[in-house]
């Protein structure tokens, strides 16, 4: 067995040292009723690398690879080009096979990287401090709500209707157990988000308002009025971003007054991966909130010789010290994904991120223009970054998406899939465009969408 270095000779010598007659004697504490008499039945025996690779390749071959077809899916997970050097770096054994940096003297690589990552995220979000990452955007969103309840000592969160439905669902699931109150809503299919309606829902018991930017329909609008309204009521503004590339083109949430900014970092460095592992980003605008933050924080300090170094810090917030009084039960971040994000962000830099954002937006504008010409199709959004909503003139988007897949086009995410059973939303299609989209891809989508709509009419 290729991963097990002990030989039978070794085992015999070790058992002798231990004073046991057999390995099974070491399992003497297992109750007899639970002792198995051999390998677990119903599972195959060990297999060669070649055989396993063949099996896994056959499973992989059953999936339609995004890069092999015109591809327009988004809704919280975006396909961007990841430079080859990102993967080279994260495969360095010293990064890949390191543990959480509890021994900082021999973990400065991970720690310095996290410190740089925190700085990158904080700046991207227009915030003072970011943490060392959480699981993903949706759990980060819940952590933001939970933090807001700690900070304000209130128990009610108001969710924008245009928050990603998975995120809203996670918040509602968690709140059910913590006893918090969640005021949510369905998205209104309008060219502009209904911020007035959202503001009207803020009351004196509100811990926070949660707004997505760009929102689930791809719309963007100035959130400053929401921030002001929230602050006026003593509530915090939580802004959720699922597409960090957008912030290379549009104002940061921090600039607009957000108190907590959270998001999904998958767009940079991480890839689609069928939904995970992804990367939860979490930042606060006001440094005074730092001690209420969830997750790991890396801080600067000095060593015994006065050299600069980094450590995990403020761990008195965390479960391994505070146990049931911790700010969250989290003890894993998304370290390797944070590294991938940080390397990609380093390669981009200020200039590259702005250029990347501009290119995404340019192609999205082209796509919106072209798709609006498809008979029966309208673009809902007034403004957008790289994703917008198409109204399909009464056709069910979910069926159209399946039909497009059969035509070899991954055409977008139907709101029907995201909000099953909600009739008002079933004719809308979310279309995301990135720098990986070609003008030819757009043309193919327009053509096939037109054909699909026509045929579905028959």
């Amino acid at each position: 067995m290729r991963y097990l270095p002990l030989t039978d000779t070794d085992r015999a010598a070790m058992l002798e040292k231990i004073g046991a007659g057999s390995v099974d004697e070491l399992f003497v504490d297992v109750p007899e009723v639970a002792r198995l008499d051999g390998p677990i039945r119903g599972l195959p025996m060990h297999a060669s690398e070649m055989a396993v690779e063949r099996h896994m390749k056959s499973l992989a071959a059953k999936n339609l690879v995004a890069g092999d077809v015109p591809f327009f899916l988004g809704a919280g997970a975006y396909r961007h080009h990841v430079p080859a050097s990102v993967d080279t770096i994260i495969q360095r054994g010293e990064f890949l096979t390191a543990y959480t940096p509890y021994q900082p003297e021999i973990a400065q690589g991970t720690l310095q990287m996290l410190f740089e990552f925190q700085t990158q995220v904080a700046r991207l979000y227009g915030c003072a401090v970011a943490n060392a990452s959480l699981y993903d955007g949706s759990t980060a969103c819940w952590e933001a709500v939970a933090m807001a309840t700690r900070v304000t000592r209130r128990k009610r969160a108001v969710l924008s209707g245009a928050l990603h439905p998975h995120y809203a669902e996670v918040v509602k699931t968690m709140a059910k157990f913590t006893g918090d109150t969640i005021a949510d809503a369905m998205p209104a299919i309008t060219p502009e988000p209904d911020l007035g309606g959202l503001i009207a829902r803020i009351d004196d018991d509100t811990a926070c308002v949660v707004v997505q930017y760009p929102d689930i329909l791809g719309r963007i609008s100035d959130l400053t009025p929401v921030a002001e309204a929230a602050h006026a009521k003593g509530a915090l503004l939580v802004v959720v971003n699922t597409e960090p590339v957008a912030l290379g083109a549009i104002k940061s949430p921090g600039e607009m007054g957000a108190d907590i900014v959270v998001g999904e970092g998958q767009s940079l460095g991480v890839g689609l991966q069928f939904g995970g592992p992804y990367l939860g980003l979490f930042a606060v605008r006001d440094p005074k909130h730092v001690r209420q933050m969830p997750g790991r924080l890396c801080g600067e300090t000095t060593d015994a010789e006065g050299k600069r170094g980094f450590v995990l810090t403020l761990s008195t917030r965390e479960q391994h010290i505070r146990r049931e009084k911790a700010t969250s039960n989290i003890c894993t971040n998304s370290g390797l994904c944070a590294l991938a994000f940080s390397v990609h962000m380093t390669l981009l830099g200020e200039r590259g991120l702005r250029e990347l954002a501009a290119e995404n937006h340019r192609l999205a504008c082209l796509a919106a223009e072209r798709l609006a010409k498809v008979p029966g199709v309208e673009v809902l959004n007034n403004a957008f970054f790289n994703e917008f909503t198409l109204m399909l003139g009464g056709k069910p988007a979910r069926a159209i998406v399946r039909d497009l897949a059969d035509r070899g086009v991954l055409g977008g995410v139907s709101l029907g899939r995201l909000y099953p059973g909600v009739e008002a939303l079933e004719h809308a299609l979310l279309v995301a465009v990135t720098e990986t989209t070609t003008e030819e891809d757009i043309e193919v989508l327009a053509r096939e969408l037109e054909a699909s709509i026509k045929e579905s009419a028959q």
């Binding site: 639970a34 025996m45 690589g109 970011a130 995970g276 801080g299 003890c331 830099g349 590259g352 059973g421």
Partner: protein
């Protein structure tokens, strides 16, 4: 050479990607929100980037470099086939919301892995979406609360042993349970009598780690489980140490109702400097219906499909959604690859070798190092020691730092809390006898110094990239992001 911070070497106008320059006159549809302020990021070209991170990496220690006996964290070898498989475009480049007919292979991976987990644990249900071990614990506890509430039996208390991971009480508290400690016996196990005495109609669940964090198998687990069930409670098993018994013992046979499985520990997905993890949860019949959305099912024709309909009434008693999308696919492919590589026979060998290695270390050290539970019989996959015989004010921390100078990553220290100056050594099954013997020699040398009160040990490490770091300073005035010196 010291490696400067990215922000000290990067420049705002430098980039390591080639993209068209921004055309300031291009039409936009940004609704007046175009960014006007600088973001404050800096870039490096590719050569500089590769060098920056390569140099940083060399200040790290990883399993690839040497023995990493971090107890309870299970630092075992990460097979490279797993990395290769996870990167197949058919797994890495598919969207979580792609039409299900276009991702049948991905759904099959989720289903196959779930089936392996069920068979290995002898449990009928599984939830695949939890993002990490602690997230899995939460999943288990939420299912327990949902099950109690479904029968109108809200309970208030969760019992947790003193030796538990901090995540256990934190998780129970999150779910609005009051946490009560269960004491340990002098042999390092749960005090069964005390636990039984505490059971009653207010106890929703007990959370027990088995093998426990003292490295011992809870031999009365079945008895405990029966008592808990008799009192109307559920048994949560922390599966952090499942790697010690995988293929040898099925938790389902011990009466477990829910258990999370850290794929990175038992099935060797890489730790990556702190994550990502993945924490699927297996359930008993009683709890399986409450598992979170989404989950994968197979229809009569063999087509896989996702049940993910959060907004429908017919979703059943599921307690809801814990995360966007379906879980840690990239970890699933690695874990399944690992399982297929080992097979049922190999996984049994994994547990046996892990336990053998730990006992070998225990018996090779107990003559000079306090081993509080050595007399309790064999340990499981980790050997626990304490610092009570050290002199000259030396402590466990000094031994840990001394091991760094010997070229090793230290063991886990000061956990579990039930042993003074705990040192928890977990060799795992992927170390050779030669590597373990070499470690024992070094460990003994450092322990001898601690027993002798060697003052120099207080300043260790001497030969690491950094000497001891001032954690108090870091926490007192936190510096959490880089600022220009003159900012």
């Amino acid at each position: 050479l010291e490696e400067p911070l990215l922000f000290e070497i990067g420049r705002a106008d430098v980039t390591g990607v080639d993209l068209p320059a921004v055309d300031a006159n291009a039409p936009t549809r940004l609704g007046g929100l175009a960014r006007s302020e600088a973001i404050g990021l800096v870039g490096l070209t590719e050569p500089e980037t590769v060098r920056h991170y390569t140099r940083l990496s060399r200040q790290n220690y990883g399993i690839d470099l040497g023995f990493f006996p971090l107890g309870s964290c299970t630092m075992k070898h990460n097979p490279r086939l797993n990395e290769k498989v996870a990167r197949l475009p058919g797994f890495a480049d598919i969207h979580p919301l792609a039409p299900q007919n276009s991702v049948q292979g991905a759904l099959e991976v989720v289903a196959q892995l779930g089936e392996w987990l069920c068979k290995l644990t002898g449990m009928p249900g599984v939830a695949m979406s939890p993002k990490a071990g602690a997230h899995g614990e939460l999943c288990g506890i939420l299912a327990i609360r949902a099950a109690h509430e479904a029968r109108g039996d809200a309970r208030e208390v969760v019992l947790v042993p003193e030796s538990a991971h901090g995540t256990n009480p934190a998780t129970a508290a999150f779910a609005n349970y009051r946490v009560e400690d269960i004491p340990a016996t002098p042999e390092g196990r749960v005090d069964v009598a005390a636990l039984k005495a505490r059971l009653g109609p207010d106890v929703a669940a007990v959370m027990i780690t088995n093998p426990n964090t003292c490295g011992l198998f809870e031999k009365d687990f079945r008895e405990i489980a029966d008592a808990v069930h008799a009192a109307g409670g559920y048994v949560y098993c922390d599966g952090a140490n499942f790697n010690a018994i995988v293929g040898k013992v099925r938790p389902g046979d011990l009466g477990v109702d829910a258990m999370h499985i850290n794929l990175h520990k038992t099935f060797s997905t890489p730790h990556g400097g702190g994550g990502p993890g993945s924490g699927p949860v297996v359930f008993s019949e009683a709890l399986a219906p409450f598992a979170p959305l989404p989950f994968v099912r197979q229809d009569a024709e063999g087509t896989f499909y996702l049940v993910e309909e959060e907004n429908r009434e017919e979703r059943g008693p599921s307690f809801g959604r814990m995360t966007a999308f379906h879980g840690q696919m990239g970890m699933f492919t690695r874990a399944l690859t690992y399982m297929l590589s080992h097979g049922a026979d190999g996984l049994k060998q994994v547990a046996e070798d892990a336990v053998l290695n730990a006992n070998y270390i225990l018996r090779s050290m107990e003559d000079i190092l306090h081993a509080p539970f050595a007399a309790s019989g064999p340990c499981m996959h980790e050997a626990l020691f304490g610092d009570k015989d050290f002199t000259g004010g030396l402590s466990t921390l000094d031994v840990a730092k001394g091991l760094i100078d010997e070229g090793y990553h230290p063991m886990t220290v000061y956990f579990p809390l039930v042993v003074h100056g705990a040192m928890l050594v977990e060799p795992t099954e992927t170390e050779s006898k030669a590597a373990i013997d070499q470690f024992i020699t070094a460990f003994r040398a450092v322990v001898e110094r601690a027993l002798a009160g060697d003052e120099e040990l207080k300043q260790a490490p001497y030969y690491a990239p950094r000497r001891r770091l001032d954690e108090t300073q870091a926490a007192r005035k936190p510096v959490l992001s880089w600022q220009k010196p003159d900012d």
